[in-house]
């Protein structure tokens, strides 16, 4: 064929038509995990319900269970019934249910992978999945190596050309943690990149699937109102907070030795920082976004005195939201001597013209005052204040707060005259509620991300360079902490240890109470 085929039924201006993924299947490793049941399976159902999955889409479970296809279908059914966002409809279930398969086996068992290979070949034949398969590794990273190797051995990583002449694809999806330091991250990347080409490795950072996070880019670059003041001339500093009110729950095995900094600062908070601080991308596509994110991540610099400008903590017993809760060291399966940080706070400088002099403060922790994730851009005081000190006593810095979750939206905080005869100025809030109304119909992060994997649309997935850059930055902090005693205890339900407040006070600033 000389001219490339264009589908006459697709037109650029026909924006009603959703992009439906091409024929494909997804193989889910780690079927019984929380994430699979609460997020991945419901998201697949919701996608099917909204009409985004191709006819014939198939879901293959792979796990160390002695199950038949029906047992797996039952697990998916229960997960969907309990956790799906959209209403359960029999006809949608029917469309999906014919495509459920289960392959029992160990992650290194060649026989099981041969069965998997046969199953996928059968699906290509019977369901028309066209040789396109995504492998979703919802398993601990230590098994990645053996799974990927086994996939390669049975020839599942390199697709053959299809009968129709369209190239088939194989993609691999992984979840955080992307390693626990630079060396392990590189090792992990080597395992994946050794077998799949980098464009086929999808690292899920579910924060990037959130509407409010994507809205940061829309707000900054689609408007003319914010960008002129989005720099150190007007911005005093930026605070990025991710607070959880819960403890570690039953995740002791995963959490101990990892801690808040590795668990969320390295990925979610660094990505939020990158989106808040980066320059305007040339276009909203994967390559342009990646370039800008990498640029800003590589211009980050740690303070020289890590003792003065970082803080880590560990929650102690206390009262959280009217409930008496135990300290971290008393949680089940946590060694009494554990030095894991359940709270981390770090000051970062962005060394470029836009941000020099306006630091970014990141903090994340468990058992804090309430569950909230936000980016707060705190502005400088006006260079000259015509009102006197008494009149502006209640006026603090102006702020623009992007509320990522819950109650998604944007708040602008500024001064306003208090009604009355005198001139008195006090802070008021102006709210845009993304949450209250819009999100009722807005998809879960996982829906968006899984669909992007099936469509092969990578803008929202961090590449290994980004992962390595953020580890490179955090490694010195983690090393410093490892060599200097234990985290500072903080009372559960408070806003972190005293050292975190001291670190801000040294710069003449305070943490916002989010």
């Amino acid at each position: 064929m000389s001219a490339p085929w264009t589908n006459p039924l697709r037109q650029e201006q026909d924006r009603r038509l959703p992009r439906i993924a091409g024929p494909c299947s997804m193989v889910l490793f780690g079927v019984t995990g929380d994430l699979s049941r609460k997020k991945v399976m419901p998201a697949i159902y919701d996608l099917a319900n909204r009409g985004f999955l191709p006819p014939g889409f198939s879901l293959v479970g792979f796990a160390r269970r002695d199950w038949a296809d029906q047992d797996f279908a039952q697990i998916v059914h229960d997960a969907v019934r309990e956790h799906s966002r959209t209403e359960f409809r029999e006809e949608v279930w029917k469309q999906l249910a014919e495509g459920f398969r289960f392959v029992p086996g160990e992650f290194g068992d060649e026989q099981a992978f041969k069965t998997l290979r046969r199953t996928l070949d059968e699906l290509d034949e019977a369901r028309g999945t066209g040789g396109n398969h995504a492998f979703y590794l919802s398993i601990p990273p230590k098994f990645f190596g053996s799974v990927v190797e086994s996939l390669q051995q049975v020839g599942l990583t390199a697709p053959e050309k299809q009968a129709s002449g369209l190239p088939a694809w194989r993609r691999v999806v992984v979840e955080k943690p992307f390693g626990h330091d630079l060396a392990s991250a590189r090792e992990l990347n080597a395992v994946l990149d050794g077998v799949f080409d980098p464009e086929s490795v999808f690292r899920i950072d579910h924060y990037l699937g959130k509407e409010t996070v994507q809205n940061i880019l829309a707000m900054r670059f689609a408007n003319n109102l914010f960008e002129p003041i989005w720099n150190a001339h007007y911005v005093d500093h930026v605070q990025i907070t991710m607070a959880e009110d819960i403890g570690i729950g039953s995740r002791a095995g995963y959490y101990d030795g990892i801690g808040a900094t590795r668990d969320v600062i390295q990925n979610h908070l660094m990505q939020l920082l990158a989106l808040t601080a980066m320059e305007e991308p040339v276009a909203f596509d994967a390559a342009s976004l990646r370039v800008e994110k990498q640029k800003v991540l590589s211009s980050l610099k740690l303070p020289t005195r890590l003792d003065l400008h970082t803080s880590r903590g560990q929650y102690a017993p206390g009262w959280a939201g009217g409930e008496k809760v135990v300290g971290y060291l008393d949680e089940a399966d946590i060694p009494r001597t554990s030095a894991t940080d359940t709270f981390g706070a770090i000051k970062l400088e962005v060394e470029n013209r836009r941000w020099a002099g306006a630091p970014f403060y990141l903090r994340a922790g468990k058992r804090l005052g309430r569950r909230v994730t936000e980016v707060a851009v705190v502005f400088k005081k006006p260079p000259h204040q015509p009102f006197d000190a008494v009149q502006t006593e209640d006026l603090t810095n102006n702020a623009l707060v992007i509320r990522v979750q819950p109650d998604e939206g944007v708040t602008i905080r500024f001064g306003s005259k208090v009604p009355g005869t005198g001139m008195e100025i006090r802070d008021v809030n102006m709210d845009f509620a993304y949450g209250g109304t819009f999100t009722e119909a807005s998809p879960e992060a996982y829906e968006k991300l899984i669909l992007d994997v099936l469509l092969g649309d990578p803008p929202l997935f961090p590449q290994h360079e980004e992962v390595e850059l953020s580890w490179k930055l955090l490694d010195p902090v983690l090393d410093y902490w490892a060599g200097h005693g234990k985290p500072d205890p903080y009372e559960s339900g408070s806003w972190g240890p005293q050292s975190a407040h001291d670190m801000m006070a040294r710069d003449g600033r305070v943490w916002r109470r989010p």
Binding site: G128, G436, T437
Partner: protein, 316 residues
Amino acid sequence: MIELSETTSSAIAAEFVAERARHGSPAMGMVMTMVILVDEDSAHQALDDARRASHEHPARVLGVIIGDGRGKGRVDAQIGIGDAWGGEVALIRLSGEVTKHADSVVMPLLLPDSPVVVWWPNDHPVDPASDPVGLLAQRRITDAASVRTGKANALRRLCAAYAPGTTDLAWTRLTPWRALLAAALDQQPLKVRGAVVTAEKVSPSADLLAAWLADRLKVKVTRETSPGPGITSVVLQSKEGPVEIERLDGRLATFRSPDNPDRPVALKRRDVPDLLAEELRRLDEDDVYAATAKKLVAQYGRTQQRRTPSRKATAS
């Protein structure tokens, strides 16, 4: 809901502000004003549909019931916010002379700057774009499948009167069908030689689908009749064999394509709030609908030309 009898637009507007203050001035973030022109019998259903659509698109909803046009003009209103609404709502009843000047009641109640949408859930004016209330709006939504009189010709008349910003829910209903058909050709780049659309006898959606396929594929599209419900099958013919989507129960379809196994695919008929929500997502002109409407009118013109001489023949 607050009742206002023998009132005016400014009293209604003042009541909106007072209602908001009573609710503690919540951030509403309303993105548009939606005017519903409806009769008494359907008002309740239409407002309920709009309420459900308002969850995705917080709006000030103005339900306007045009009553008896005789006698002295009178405006009555019920106003509310909250209560599962993603915005504010007023149900306004007009009677007497003012029924001819509904636009004068609506105009002062439009939200500043934001877009205005007018929706006629049942009967609509012959030319929505030149209707006084329609003129206030960027988007005018009709529903050819729900008109009470002259259903068979409603769609053709609407297409003939097409103006930028006008759409019909019969077109919205097609989106899942069109998406599947487009996806079918994404998967198998076939050269389509002809197509058949089968649906119940009066089905504005089926007529639009046939026009769209004819316009895009440049082939002859045949329209067949079945007992329904709605559209029951679409076939695209090609050298390699037919691509067929068949849906007999209005819920679950079977997808057939050459060299592939049959596959079930959920294709439920959607209800009005879903359709409205889709319609409100984009408020600019729908170019594809414009082209399809033009095609539909042109096709009809050709069938008329063919029919006219044959009638003469039987007469003589």
